[in-house]
Each structure stands twice: as structure tokens, then as C-alpha cells.
């Protein structure tokens, strides 16, 4: 049997393996070359070991290939990466939920904006079925993509550049050296969830503004302002002082005691909900606002927008309180 024929048998086998290998491995040309050359070395070694007198024959090559297993089984082993979690691996799960969350938020936001535009244009109609349809579509497509990626053995690092990988490795080694918290789920260093100094400074400023609203020092203009508006300012002042105190407490606690932070955020959410009532009063009675040379309906829309921002703030705070869970038992 000629050397060419035996070479052909091995090359053919390697070609079949290459075809079956996962995409993430095929994209890394150097790694792919290394994988195939290592398998090829093994086949020649094995064939030599199986042949009599160490002379290679077609049958010894054939036997060596059968010992290697099918190209499918080899490729399957390369795809066996990540810990299975339902049909999506545990490794891809955080990325999956993040992509799903971002796309869902975009869909909801776009639909809300379209609704607002319709309301402004006097064409008010609620289209919840449309939103649900979009969300279901996104859920199905994103889930199918991630199930496919999990089956092919993709890991989150396969989507990163070499530079990003190096940077993350450096960040991790710094975190390990300094004893900073590291997420058990992602293996990445956890960032501080608050900036204590910023919280304390912000709290002090909020308290100062709140106090001015609450005390309302006598000025030349005070008598020109409606009493109802002054009462509303006092209410806002109380809310601002309360929130300022909560931020001061969070700043003093620092990046520890997760439960206390979650309780404080809970109180803050309650206060934010309470703030909406006086804002609704201003949407309803824009004439109470003094010294503003705009049309009444524009003032109403401004306060409606502030309510919208308050709702976004409530959603954001709820998200923060939930995500704080990942710091539990680490800090």
C-alpha cells in the first residue's frame, strides 16, 4: 500500500472532523490547525503501534481510525462546553437574559413613545396586543438562537476580541489580588454598587434643597405665589429631605449589608410613588405654577413627562434592588 493512499485515508478522516467541528473552533484558524495536527499525530502513532514490525499498512491505519471514534463523536466532545441549564447552558444564561431584557425594554419603550405620539396627535388607542406580539416574537427568536449556540458549545468569551479577553483577565487578577468580590456566576469582578462619597454629597445637597422648599424663606415674590403651590412645594420638600436622608444612610453603610440597601431602596420606591400624587395635581391645575410664560397645556405636559421619569426611576430602583441579590454572601 502506497504512502499516498494512507495519507489520503488520514486526510479524508481529518477533513470529516473539520466539517463537523463547531463554528467557534473553525473561526480560530491557529487553534483548528493545532487540533487537527494533534489528532493526526495520534493516528500515525496508533497505527504504528498496531502494525507488525512498526511498518504502516492500510489495515493498521483503518484500525487506528476506528479506535479514534467517529468524526461526529469527536466534534460532539468539542461542543460539550458549558453547564447545561434547561436548553441553554448556564454560561450563556446571563447573556441570554440580558439580550432578552434589552430587546424587550426597547420594544416596550418604542411602543410607549408611539402611544404618546398618538395621544398628542389626538389619536388615542392602547395596543397591548401589538406589544405582546412583539415580545413573544423576540422571546422565540432570541431563545432559538441561544439554544443553537448552546448546542454548538459557544461560550460568552467566543464573542469577545482578544484584547477584551486580556483586559478581563487583568481585571480579574487585580480583583483577586485585592480581595474584591467576584461573581460566582460569571467569574468576573463585581463593581461597587454605590459610590459612598457621591451618595453622601448628593444626600447633603438634597437635604439643603428640601429644607429651602419646606421652610420657604420670605422673599419679595412669596406673596405672588398661590398658597396651594406653596403647600405643594412643602410636600415636595419633605419628599426630597426623606430621599436625601436615605441616600446619606446608604452612603454611610457603603458597599456592604445588602438587605439594608434593599430595604432603603424599597422605602425610596414608596416615596417615589407618593410623589406622583402632587405631580398629578400640577398636571391637572397648571395655572398654579407661577412665573412661567408658557401655555397651560405645555406646563401640564412637562409635569406629565416628570411623572414618566418618576415611573422610569421606580422601575430602575426595583431592578437595582433585585440585582443587589448577586452581592449577597459575597460582600
Amino acid at each position: 500500500m502506497s504512502q499516498n493512499n494512507m495519507d489520503g485515508m488520514v486526510k479524508d478522516y481529518l477533513k470529516k472532523i473539520k466539517e463537523k467541528l463547531p463554528e467557534w473552533l473553525k473561526e480560530d484558524k491557529e487553534e483548528l490547525k493545532d487540533v487537527l495536527s494533534e489528532i493526526e499525530e495520534h493516528i500515525w502513532d496508533k497505527a504504528e503501534g498496531l502494525s507488525e514490525n512498526g511498518d504502516l499498512t492500510e489495515s493498521s491505519i483503518q484500525l487506528a481510525l476506528s479506535h479514534m471514534g467517529t468524526p461526529e463523536s469527536i466534534a460532539k466532545e468539542f461542543k460539550r462546553r458549558g453547564v447545561p441549564k434547561v436548553y441553554i447552558t448556564e454560561d450563556l444564561w446571563p447573556l441570554y437574559t440580558r439580550v432578552l431584557g434589552i430587546l424587550s425594554a426597547v420594544v416596550v419603550m418604542v411602543n410607549v413613545v408611539v402611544m404618546i405620539i398618538n395621544i398628542v396627535a389626538g389619536n388615542f388607542q392602547l395596543d397591548f396586543v401589538g406589544i405582546l406580539f412583539w415580545l413573544a416574537g423576540i422571546f422565540t427568536i432570541v431563545t432559538l438562537i441561544f439554544v443553537g449556540l448552546s448546542m454548538e458549545g459557544f461560550l460568552p468569551e467566543d464573542f469577545k476580541t482578544e484584547e477584551e479577553r486580556k483586559r478581563e483577565k487583568k481585571e480579574l487578577s487585580i480583583a483577586e489580588k485585592n480581595g474584591w468580590p467576584i461573581s460566582p456566576n460569571t467569574g468576573k469582578p463585581l463593581k461597587s454598587f454605590i459610590q459612598p462619597t457621591g451618595m453622601i454629597v448628593g444626600g447633603i445637597i438634597q437635604n439643603a434643597i428640601g429644607l429651602i422648599f419646606l421652610i420657604q424663606p420670605e422673599t419679595d415674590f412669596t406673596h405672588l405665589i398661590e398658597l396651594e403651590f406653596l403647600a405643594l412645594l412643602r410636600i415636595f420638600g419633605m419628599f426630597i429631605i426623606s430621599e436625601g436622608c436615605l441616600n446619606l444612610i446608604r452612603g454611610v453603610i457603603g458597599n456592604q449589608q445588602v438587605t439594608k440597601h434593599q430595604i432603603i431602596i424599597g422605602i425610596k420606591i414608596f416615596l417615589s410613588i407618593m410623589t406622583i400624587t402632587p405631580l398629578v395635581v400640577l398636571v391637572d391645575q397648571p395655572e398654579l405654577v407661577p412665573f412661567v410664560p408658557f401655555e397651560k397645556h405645555l406646563i401640564s405636559w412637562t409635569f406629565a413627562f416628570i411623572i414618566f421619569l418618576a415611573i422610569i426611576g421606580i422601575i430602575s430602583d426595583t431592578y437595582k434592588a433585585v440585582t443587589l441579590e448577586k452581592y449577597r454572601n459575597i460582600i
Binding site: D34, E38, E41, D45, G49, M68, I74, E77
Partner: protein, 177 residues
């Protein structure tokens, strides 16, 4: 591992495809974790702590009397995974007149291997009465009472367990040198 199925009586339980599938799946589950541990053990015992894939499989089969057989092609994805996890490292060098990729255990991998081998040893010992087998753990090793990490007393007598940090100095001193 059931070999030479066709040579046995047709009434054997294993003649049933269902039983065969069940047994083979069960064996493959048992083998999966043990294979990785045995690969690490074979590399650890290799000359200079370095070995190439083909020699690794050969040594493994010889050491286990061909009881633990890894499908040869699946060895390399496994080695790469261990390398990716920082347990193994590799380099290309000439061995037996041929350029080969040789693997060795990293410092971190050595600590993980000691822990896994300690855990498996202690587990085997603990379940041995259930399976009516005898397991003898060598005296030269101290098994951390907290995490089962295997510590070679002939190599060094440490104050703390590498894996869990337990103070083992007293236990270590009680053992004969």
C-alpha cells in the same frame, strides 16, 4: 465496560438493547468524571510530569488493565478543556524523534487535582462497605478533615490546607515522619 457481547449466550441480560443502553449510559456517566481524574493522575505520574496524548492513553490503559477506555478522539477535546480551565498547560517539543504537543499540570491544576483525588479517595473509602470492597488509603497522605484535600506528607508538611485554609499543622505533626 462489557466486551465481546456477541460471544456470550443469547439469554444474557445484556442481549436486550434496552438493558444494554441503560448499563452503557450509566457506565458512561460514572466514567466521565473519573476519566478526567485519571487523565490528571497519569500526567502527574509521567516522567518529568509531561506527556503527549498518545502516550497518555497508552499509560492509562495499561495502568487500569484496559478497564478505563477513553474513545481516543475524545481525549483531545478533554485535554483542551482542561487547558482552557488553567488546569493543564501544553508546549510543542521533540519526543521520540517527533514534534509533539506535551501536556503538564499547572501549579493551580496540581492543587485542584490533589483536592479531587482526595475527595474521590475519601468517597471510595466511605462507600466501600456498601459495595463490599476494600479501599486502602496510603499512609503517606493526610486527608484534610474539612475538604478531603490530599496532602503528601513526604513532600511537605504544610500549616494550612491549600484548598480550604484549615490549620492542619497539629494533624500533620501527629503523623510519623
Amino acid at each position: 465496560m462489557i466486551k465481546r457481547v456477541k460471544e456470550f449466550g443469547t439469554k444474557a441480560l445484556i442481549a436486550s438493547q434496552e438493558i444494554r443502553d441503560y448499563v452503557e449510559k450509566f457506565e458512561s456517566e460514572i466514567n466521565r468524571g473519573i476519566s478526567t481524574l485519571c487523565i490528571l493522575a497519569t500526567i502527574d505520574k509521567a516522567e518529568n510530569g509531561q506527556i503527549h496524548g498518545y502516550a497518555l492513553l497508552k499509560n492509562l490503559e495499561e495502568e487500569t488493565n484496559e478497564m478505563l477506555v477513553i474513545e481516543e478522539g475524545t481525549l483531545y477535546p478533554l485535554l483542551r478543556k482542561l487547558e482552557g480551565n488553567g488546569i493543564l498547560k501544553s508546549e510543542r517539543k521533540v519526543v521520540e524523534n517527533r514534534m509533539r504537543k506535551v501536556y503538564s499540570i499547572t501549579e493551580r491544576g496540581d492543587k485542584i487535582y490533589n483536592h479531587l483525588s482526595g475527595f474521590y479517595g475519601k468517597l471510595s473509602k466511605a462507600i466501600s462497605p456498601l459495595l463490599d470492597i476494600n479501599v486502602h488509603l496510603k499512609e503517606q497522605y493526610l486527608y484534610c478533615p474539612n475538604c478531603a484535600n490530599k496532602i503528601d506528607l513526604n513532600k511537605d508538611r504544610k500549616q494550612f490546607c491549600d484548598m480550604c485554609g484549615l490549620n492542619i499543622q497539629e494533624l500533620s505533626e501527629r503523623r510519623p515522619k
